[in-house]
Amino acid sequence: MKKHRISRVLRENLVGYSFIGIWIVGFLVFMLYPFISSLIYSLSEVKILGTGIDIQFQWFTNFKNIFQQEEGFAFVEALIDFLKELVFQVPIIIVFSVLIAVLLNQPLKGRGMFRSIFFLPVIISSGPVINELISQGAGGANIFESYGFISIIENTLTPAFAAPIVSVFSQIIIIFWFSGVQILIFLAGLQKVDRQIYEAARVDGAGPWESFWKITLPSLSNLVFVNLIYTIVLLATFSENKVIVSIKSNMFNINTGYGMASAMAWIYFIIIMIIIAIVALIFIPKNEKIKGVKR
């Protein structure tokens, strides 16, 4: 009997691994190996020769150079700009998607049509497309400019703070465009809330205001966390993001090369991880461990 059980456990292990084995192979070859190589590159001078690549280990020279070389300054500046924008954009996207999801959760005519409209940007927003739209003035800049909104901000705040806010408003539509998936996730969460809870609350004298704060929002708290992470990752990996463009251009720059580009990528990676860790510490749903994160 005991022998049979052991063989059953072993069998389940084997079968399980036969299913996920392809992922593990892919992970080792396409993730772990490049990940470690990238760390080594960032600590080395990498030269491309006709015969292959030449890697000279040199500790933190690349990282120091980022703060001493012109290309490095440009990168750091792009990084700071990106972080400032992230601080404004992520809350805007989350609040906006909660608002839209709550509106769409009402029994309305044409609900499906509105839902399709709000999801449409997911279908079409790629780096070059959004780039074209912003550069051709379709990003909404003209709507806000025509009300003198932007000049008010520029006149009342210091340039360091005004710049990211202005850039947020001049791209406000495009920022909204990043909320398609989040809206649907919130909406799906709202639809799982039992209507009877609202009725019970109403009988007990709660108005819509209390219902929103005490029922709707708590029921979304897990999803707020999921969507925060999703939004940060979405913005951090968007192909027209300045930091990413900077890293890519430095890859093929003779003065910097793969070594310094890798060092930049690592700085970027570590900063993103710190942001995600902070968000996780603040927003991770209580009573739930890591395994529940994506559910």
Partner: protein, 310 residues
Amino acid sequence: MSTHKLSPMQIKIKKFFFGTHVTDSFFSKLVIYVLLISIGFLYLYPMLYMLSNSLKSQSDIVNPVVNWVPTSLYFGNYQRAFLVLNFFPTLWKSLIVTMVPALIQTMVTAVIGYGFAKFNFKFKKMWLVLVLMTFVIPVQVYMIPRYVMFFNMNLLEKPLSIILPALFGQGVNSAIFVLIFYQFFRMIPIALNEAAEIDGAGPYYIFFKIGVPLAVPAFITSFLFGLVWYWNETYIASLFLGSGYPNMQLRLANFVSEYSQMYASEALLRINEGVRLAATLLIILPMLIVYFTIQRWFVEGVENTGITGE
């Protein structure tokens, strides 16, 4: 907390934003519609802008009186954008690096998700956490060595450089698809598997005969999302495919320079926003068609596949 101390105005303001589920007054409904329609318009604004301006001739574009509606429908922009983009050959290239990886990724991640959902094996939690990690880690960190690797394997500028990672569950947003299938297969009662096992079916037979047929909605949703994400993916494509295998997005990114090369001699046909927006519209057109024919699968898919958890 109760509301009885509020003035009627305050109550109105609150209803303004949240309405109630049971007693939706005419007023709150009206406000919701107005909000939704105006935000919806803002959302569609870039699209409408694109459509309107791409149909304007040069004189319409510089004419300040002409706002939304062009004086006459002008298709010259589309004609030239079509030629510069080299539309059909580029479309074909794009379809290969979109459909194939999306299809392969869907099938592979289904297998992986099923493995995570239905079997208990050692280090399962560790692997699941690593799956999540692959989603969060910025591509840039591992892309340079991957580039070198593909260079050594002589895969650069070939569709295989996009397809190969997808085959091993490491493609664009693969982690999300693994989690979608993981979540989906977990909802199928394990008793179903056990019953089939008692009848003598092996695990792979059960996967194909019970798991796959039940997961058809998840397959469709995953494939569609894969399609869209691969279509819109530019960073990896610009590195791996580059100018040797330009897809739609890369053509659009280089549109200005390619246009000026093609029409260098003709001063009258200088590049303007009309042509650029026509090109942009041509790029998004295939996905728009897909979306509007089967949008139900996109929108409802997010709900049906249980990505939000139970």
